[in-house]
């Protein structure tokens, strides 16, 4: 499919950002003027409160221009990668951004050096919008070095990225898999499919042919994975953090106890629930030996219907009416104002995202194919977009950006509400079992698997911090052990399981994965209360969506009535999982039609 053959109503309308290409360059010129002006204020902006305010107002304007320019260029490039005009715009804004970052590098150091004066200025009401973000800068005091050292540290960025670059560049070929005498191409997409195959030989061949390639390149992967761990340890050390964990959590101002609480809940206290689920799978599938790669065999045979885009909107509008008219109107706007680029076509970026800023609509890129997954992705991305929309319409431009730490809440709440809606509207026990299974698998991925990843990652980070040399043997032995504990006694580990860690990009993201668990537990708590008609929760949640990035993430969540520092949140989430599991167990153990055979 080519882009020009797609009906224009199913493509996004980026003209509200810039109607003409020259408008992009006009804004880029304005941004350049602002940078010049800011650089001229280097020795002045701390002189008095008015100069201080002027500097920050101009800096905010500069950020808005950069975000708007970046948004326009990257959205266009993602659907028309071969259009050189957009590529030129994209290169221009990236290069300007680099210039801004390096030429304004005096800012943080000077703010910290003058923190007393800055704190005084902040009492001025004119600066009220800036209080939170500036206090966030001052909070870095212990970790900002002298200008000379900071410059040196920032120069290391050119050599620090090699591990991730190599990981991204290393694309493997896999031997084909034989199904009914035919050779089938193996890749990431078909692996998932082949692991659902009824024939154990197919599953085994797919798993082996896939991961034996990671074993073949194990020393390369060990170098890049240990490389990225050494990088994080290096930055934590030079920036005077106790370790990589502390450095990573510092940005979100989250205590390490939160991280360890999540690991303890998932990997110790509630892990037996996951083992029970695995045992149920083994029982339902009547497998004598169940390998780790057998866990993907669908427990429920049910074919969901196909959805048109209009049907998706009908369902989504029905689901989100729980949030009230304002939220519903945002979803309607998304459709009417063409925020969404729906269909896949040649050259278009794969996957899905929501992207926007204070001065643009919150656009969505999708690769819609009309299955349940497309519907679920759509409500997920609309969750992000509604969050962005509400933040930008209720916060000043300084405070509207919310952090990754809380970003997955709005999307996961929507996804979970959707599954519950499907459960409620299910017309047969089998349909119900299908959506319960979807929900269970979703939960397993986010509340059980990610904490295992986090535990593994944390050990690697600790090795790096201690300067321990990391061989592939050490890494794969550890991953093998962690998986055996994770899957539990009923599941047999395949010989390649240790090498499967080399396939996972998230280990390159520096303590990212635990945020998925947090997002899901928060979402489960919120959804279960919303479905119980809890009006206070609804108001609190909408308040959270409108708060953007105006507070510390933990405080934002507390405002949403979910306290990530307390046990209750996690206990509720895992108990919710248990309830679903009970319900599912009752159906599948009753209903023989739900099994493979």
């Amino acid at each position: 499919m080519e882009r020009q053959n797609i009906d224009i109503q199913y493509t996004w309308d980026l003209s509200p950002i810039y109607a003409h290409h020259q408008d992009f360059y006009k804004d880029l010129d304005k941004a350049k003027e602002l940078l010049t002006s800011l650089l001229q204020q280097k020795d002045l902006f701390l002189k008095d409160v008015n100069q201080f305010l002027k500097f920050h107002q101009e800096e905010t304007m500069l950020s808005r221009y950069i975000q708007k320019l970046h948004c326009f260029a990257h959205l266009h490039c993602d659907v028309e990668p071969n259009n050189q005009e957009y590529q030129t715009m994209y290169a221009a804004i990236l290069s300007f951004y680099d210039q801004v970052s390096s030429s304004l590098d005096f800012y943080t150091v000077m703010m910290i050096e003058n923190s007393e004066k800055v704190t005084q200025y902040l009492q001025d009401e004119q600066l009220s919008d800036y209080r939170y973000t500036i206090q966030e800068i001052l909070r870095q005091k212990k970790h900002v070095l002298s200008q000379e050292l900071e410059t040196l540290v920032s120069k290391t960025s050119t050599i620090a990225d090699i591990s991730s670059q190599v990981f991204d560049a290393l694309r493997l070929d896999y031997d084909p898999v034989h199904i009914d005498g035919q050779e089938k191409t193996l890749n990431s997409a078909t692996l998932t499919e082949f692991l659902k195959n009824k024939n154990p030989e197919v599953r085994k061949e797919a798993y082996h042919n896939f991961f034996k390639e990671y074993k073949k390149f194990e020393n390369v992967y060990a170098a890049t994975l240990s490389g990225v761990m050494k990088k994080d340890a290096f930055y934590a050390d030079v920036k005077k953090f106790d370790g990589p964990l502390e450095a990573s959590l510092f940005d979100d101002n989250v205590p390490t106890s939160l991280f360890f609480k999540i690991l303890d809940k998932a990997n110790n206290q509630y892990r037996p629930l996951f083992h029970r689920y695995n045992a149920l799978k083994k029982k339902v599938l009547k497998l004598e030996t169940m390998y780790n790669y057998d866990l993907n065999i669908p427990l429920v045979q049910y074919k969901t219907k196909k959805y048109t885009i209009d049907e998706c909107f009908d369902i989504i509008l029905d689901v989100v009416k729980i949030f009230g008219e304002d939220y519903v109107n945002i979803i309607k706007k998304a459709k009417e104002e063409r925020w969404i680029d729906y269909y896949p076509h040649s050259g278009k970026r794969i996957g899905a995202y929501s992207s926007g800023c204070y001065d643009t609509n919150p656009y969505i890129l999708m690769n819609f194919i009309g299955d349940y997954n497309s519907l679920s992705t759509m409500i997920h991305e609309l969750g992000h977009s509604a969050h962005t929309y509400l933040s930008c319409h209720n916060q000043s431009p300084v405070n509207c950006d919310y952090r990754i730490f809380v970003a997955e809440v709005a999307s996961t709440v929507n996804e979970t509400l959707l599954i519950n809606y499907m459960l409620e509207h299910a017309s047969s026990p089998q349909e119900k079992a299908y959506f319960l299974y979807e929900l269970l698998e979703n939960c397993v991925g986010l509340i059980f698997r990610q904490p295992m990843y986090a535990d593994f990652e944390h050990i690697l980070h600790t090795w790096a911090k201690e300067g321990k040399p990391m061989s592939s043997q050490m890494i794969t032995d550890l991953y093998d052990k962690k998986n055996a504990e994770y899957y539990g006694p009923e599941i047999t580990m395949d010989e390649y399981v240790g090498y499967s860690c080399y396939y996972i990009p998230h280990f390159y993201y520096n303590y990212y994965v635990y945020k998925y668990t947090l997002g899901m537990t928060v979402a489960l708590a919120i959804v279960s209360r919303l479905l119980n008609g809890d009006e206070k929760q609804k108001e609190a949640y909408l308040r959270f969506l409108k708060s953007g990035g105006s507070k510390d993430p933990v405080d934002l969540l507390k405002d949403a009535l979910v306290n990530p520092l307390e046990d209750q949140l996690y206990d509720d989430a895992f108990h919710y999982f248990e309830t679903i599991l009970n319900e599912f167990e009752n159906i599948v153990l009753d209903d023989s039609s739900s099994t493979l055979s």
Copy 2:
């Protein structure tokens, strides 16, 4: 072959280093005591000349222990890698060395901060042995940063090595090559062999199957190659050098004009000579189209005899008698005192090297198989060992270590003398043609190919210095272009030639390759004068071998009557190549038996 089956007289005798294993640990303890003592002197060693002398004497002793311990452990590990006792010793000395490096990092900074005082101390006769090495430290003044910055720079070492680590870890598999209907395994060793095959299809298939794998992983290689260039640019920048070239040449105190002179001589002035040689190959081989991968087809069909180790020594002793009795006695000692580990066996390190220090014999590891190449390797490594022996017996322990920049002279002189000896003793025009061809191919590799590599490498370094992003397309296009210019109009470039840069480890060695050219031109000049009975040259050369690392490399070479800053040296070397080429041309154009057919 297992090690225990090899006659002991053909293995090295490491017992003169340590007769018993406990002696290793006794010395390690002494080294640790010395480190403790040195650390206690941190605030004292600059106080007066006596404390200064004491500190340096102890530091020298510590270095001697480290070198001796390291030598013992690594030699044992290289022939018995599975012996855990030696692996433990090796790990112990490496870890102690790291500890020494980091805990003595105050030394350079304090020396520079007190350079006036240090210069005064150096006038004391008791410090005469230390003058050169300490002046070398003071010479770094412009490039040594504050202690705080130096510590940060040294910490970057953990993240700076990833590119090289990945390059080393990335081992490719190649599709087999078909020869006379049989599948033959392709690897680095067989590639060289297959490229000599008479059948053009075999050569093409071998070349394509080999380098198509580098194309497949081009983005990984582009990341590691650009990564190592960025690393060099980073260190050059933070250490205040004009660029990576200046940073690299600084250590040897060599002007950049020398580097550019070598490139100009080889890549511009004398390149037509290489093109003439290629044209001769094409003519002799009667090829209509000659591809770059056809240049390895042997021009002369001649099978050299097999040599026993005793026969090798007979020839070598005959060759080196030109240097006089002292040198001859060193070679005899090497045999009698069992400095050499000759034969390949399972687990033994591949290749060959000479390794030793002030307190050990200069040992040699080989993988002797009795062909001409084994003989040539033996005289090459004995060249290094004689150089080490003479340096250690004529210099103080502080000044005996010679630098890489001059290290290849002694070995290449020997190798070239050997070829000349073979030429002199050749019993047929074909044998003569064979050794002339050997000499020409040797010369091409060192005086033509390496300067092309150096030119390519320098452009990548310049891109990194300018912060230019490097795609694989840019890198391979450049290498393709450089090769086309290099091989000249008679040779046709294969489509994969651009990717062959990814196979070469030397591009990871930071301006290393031009040193090969220098070593060869110096050797050619010295050998041609020696063969003309130039007694002054002989004495100067022996003086050079005895001088170790007591002077700047360029001064050492000047003492050996070869001035690398002047045109004459290079002009002589390339004219020597021309003379050999003329002689060879006369034989092969006369003698039809020397061609393939």
